[in-house]
């Protein structure tokens, strides 16, 4: 990599992007107050809200026009995911969008793609390769009967009669144990290197969109803590005047601003120069995960005892910081993937 290469470093949004960002933000602010988030616990799925999200067209918008989409870019999806995260919205958008894009990229038939693009059913992605037919935890599989998985050298869509049983978890997400069932319907989408490459790209997209969601989530947590620090007083002063409060909050602001830019840059390059910086989405994920862990912990703590109560909104963010981050990555796997790319040892 030429570290002095002449490239734009333009993080500004164009009018369309701003309009999208604003409309999605307004949508979630109105349709998904924190009461909605709590009401959807512990499953983490609000079917009504999901319908309304689908009505926005987000399931299909990033498909090529030829496949019924609007040619929206990964940058658009990242903007949407950030707002979803800010609202901690209980909808399986990240996994479904990734699965839908994967179907399209794999050249799935219209018959297979259409239900995903329309959102008739929820589609999910199995993050790890299936080994010896053993089960794995799959995000959204408690609300998705259609799971895309890599088994051996085949990438296939597995469609079951219904979703798998929910397993309760810290982040209140629709997580479930899932394994391919030989009796299930199965559509092979790709084989060999193509299957592995498609799967790897989809996993990277999942990480990138999750990173975007975590940026929004962490910024929402930061905002709560900042408002608290402005008004809560100790020793006759607002606690936000104390460096012991102001500096940790500034550090969260620093991390959030960097994580957002890293996500945006990764999304743009993945969209417009696929392959030029394949490590960037993974780096964005690593940084956003740490930012979310540290940021939501700090946010809760700066709200003192109140920030530790279940009824405080700080809890929503704190529990999902890890609850969303760890859904689809094995121990250290993402970091190892980055390392393999930058050391060229993959």
């Amino acid at each position: 990599m030429d570290r002095f290469e002449l490239r734009r470093q333009d993080f500004s949004l164009d009018e369309d992007q701003k309009a999208l960002q604003t409309s999605v933000a307004e949508f979630f602010a109105k349709q998904c107050p924190t009461g909605t988030v709590r009401a959807a616990e512990p499953l983490g799925f609000d079917e009504d809200l999901w319908r309304r999200v689908l009505d926005l067209g987000v399931a299909s918008m990033s498909l090529p026009e030829a496949r019924g989409g609007d040619d929206a870019t990964l940058v658009d999806l990242v903007l949407i995911a950030e707002e979803l995260g800010r609202a901690v919205a209980p909808v399986p958008l990240v996994g479904h969008a990734v699965a839908t894009r994967l179907l399209a990229r794999a050249g799935a038939s219209d018959e297979v793609l259409a239900p995903a693009a329309r959102g008739d059913r929820v589609f999910a992605l199995a993050p790890a390769a299936v080994r010896n037919g053993r089960r794995q935890l799959v995000p959204d599989a408690a609300v998705a009967a259609d799971v895309l998985a890599l088994s051996g050298d085949k990438l296939a869509l597995h469609s079951a009669a219904g979703p798998a049983p929910h397993v309760a978890n810290q982040g209140s997400t629709p997580l479930a144990w899932w394994a391919p069932d030989p009796g299930q319907e199965r559509v092979v989408l790709a084989v060999g290197d193509e299957a592995r490459d498609l799967h790897r790209a989809a996993v990277a997209e999942w990480r990138l969109l999750t990173a975007a969601a975590l940026v929004g989530l962490t910024e929402a947590a930061l905002h709560l803590a900042v408002e608290f620090a402005k008004t809560r007083r100790t020793m006759g002063v607002p606690i936000g005047t104390l460096q012991g409060v102001a500096f940790p909050l500034a550090d969260v602001a620093i991390a959030v601003s960097g994580a957002r830019n890293l996500v945006w840059k990764a999304a743009w390059l993945t969209e417009h120069e696929p392959g030029s910086r394949p490590e960037l989405p993974l780096m964005a994920f690593d940084y956003a995960v740490r930012t979310a862990t540290h940021g939501t912990t700090t946010s809760a703590h700066m709200q003192g005892g109140l920030g530790f109560t279940a009824e405080a909104d700080a809890s929503l963010y704190f529990l999902r910081a890890k609850g969303w981050s760890l859904l689809a990555v094995g121990p250290g796997e993402n970091l190892q993937d980055i390392g393999d790319l930058i050391t060229g040892t993959d």
Binding site: V167, N169, W177, M235, L306, F308, S315, P331
Partner: protein, 396 residues
């Protein structure tokens, strides 16, 4: 310096065996399950059973309802209580408050309560924090107004943990709003059965229950006052100093760290993670075959060990940091199986890593935030000057 095991005499060994078998029988799985589900920090059956042996006040003489235990036996008892995970929050606050009751209460009240503290039927909680107060306890606004031989209380307190299982709360109230901040406060031991007291549960995401306690025209006898009127700050300081303790015992029978208990759930989570790391996964390899996993486990273990030995109030901050960071790291290591809730299919250690991560956050606030303790360390250990804030010369 001595870190050796202690050779017990036959009598001491007999005592240790007795404690262990007593607790084996007493602390049944339903005690632990109840604690996990409710986070009370208390179990009445267990508490009363300990009281019946004098083990709630082990250093008191048997005549006073204690067990007359020497320091070594007390340490044996303490470690076995921890080993058996006996819920101990309310026992702890009761002991803390007793030091003030013993010293400042009307002798008749003291004498009435002493045997009940010993047998476990009288339990105390802490009424320190006003809803708007945070760590600045001296800013307390809950009012106590004298009316003849009685006081009338109006206001509220947050974070009165254990109130639902206690008979009295150790309450700080403002008795003279005209006096300077620290001078207009008085301490009371308020019977929680008094009319006008309302206890409202507050759940934490760490799983523990605490309470908001509301006081609406609560009338209590002057008998429940501790220490002089407007002298509450001095009365409070006994228990508070103990809670913020800078000193450590040197007989080697106390944990050096005031934050030792913070590390217990991290120990459990680490041990579960070590066990997980030794298991063969779906791909035929064990996590422990990966040097990066080994290095990360080692780092958590080092932080844990550092937490165990960091002394006094330094240990309190370190204990909190070690579990907050360590539990997050263990979750990152184990991934989604670590996130699964107790009882969920396949939950790692039946939710022990998930629990440690959630519970850890409370340690940064208990009995004063880590920032309060950093301030104490800066001023009392390092000798740095105090900041002068408009609202006080003292930062609690």
């Amino acid at each position: 310096m001595d870190f050796g095991t202690i050779e017990l005499t036959p009598e001491q060994q007999e005592f240790a065996d007795e404690v262990r078998s007593f607790l084996d029988a007493l602390v049944t799985p339903d005690v632990l399950e109840h604690e996990r589900a409710h986070g009370d920090g208390f179990n009445e059956r267990v508490h009363l059973a300990l009281g019946s042996r004098g083990w709630l006040t082990p250093q008191w003489s048997p005549e006073d309802g204690g067990a007359g235990l020497d320091p070594l036996r007390r340490r044996i008892l303490e470690l076995e209580l921890q080993r058996h995970r006996v819920p101990d929050i309310t026992a702890g606050t009761t002991n803390l408050v007793w030091t003030a009751v013993d010293r400042f209460a009307d002798p008749s009240l003291r004498d009435e309560l002493a045997p009940r503290v010993a047998d476990g039927t009288a339990r105390f909680c802490l009424g320190y924090t006003d809803p708007e107060g945070g760590s600045d306890i001296a800013a307390s606004r809950l009012r106590a107004v004298r009316d003849g031989d009685e006081w009338v209380l109006n206001g509220a307190k947050m974070f009165t943990t254990g109130a639902q299982n206690c008979q009295y709360t150790f309450l700080i109230a403002r008795t003279d709003p005209e006096l300077p901040k620290h001078k207009g406060l008085t301490m009371f031991l308020v019977p929680l059965a008094a009319p006008g007291v309302e206890i409202q549960a507050i759940r934490t995401f760490g799983g523990e229950r605490t309470n908001a306690v509301y006081y609406g025209d609560v009338r209590i006898s002057d008998r429940y006052r501790l220490g002089g009127v407007n002298d509450g700050w001095a009365v409070l300081h006994g228990p508070l100093d103990e809670e913020h303790s800078v000193g450590t015992a040197s007989d080697g029978l106390a944990d050096p760290s005031v934050g030792r208990s913070f590390l217990r759930p991290l120990e459990v989570a680490l041990d579960e993670t070590l066990a997980w790391a030794r298991e063969t996964g779906p791909d035929g390899s064990r996590p422990v075959d990966d040097p990066s996993v080994v290095a990360r486990l080692a780092r958590v273990a080092v932080e844990l060990e550092a937490g165990v030995v960091t002394p006094g109030p330094m240990g309190r901050v370190k204990g909190s940091l070690a579990i907050v960071e360590g539990a997050a790291e263990l979750l990152d290591l184990t991934g989604a199986v670590g996130l699964l809730s107790p009882g969920a299919d396949g939950a790692l250690g039946d939710g022990d890593v998930d629990f440690a991560h959630r519970w850890a956050q409370g340690t940064a606030t208990y009995g004063g935030t880590v920032e309060v303790f950093r301030t104490i360390i800066a001023q009392h250990v390092l000798g740095l000057p105090r900041a002068g804030y408009p609202g006080s010369k003292v930062l609690m």
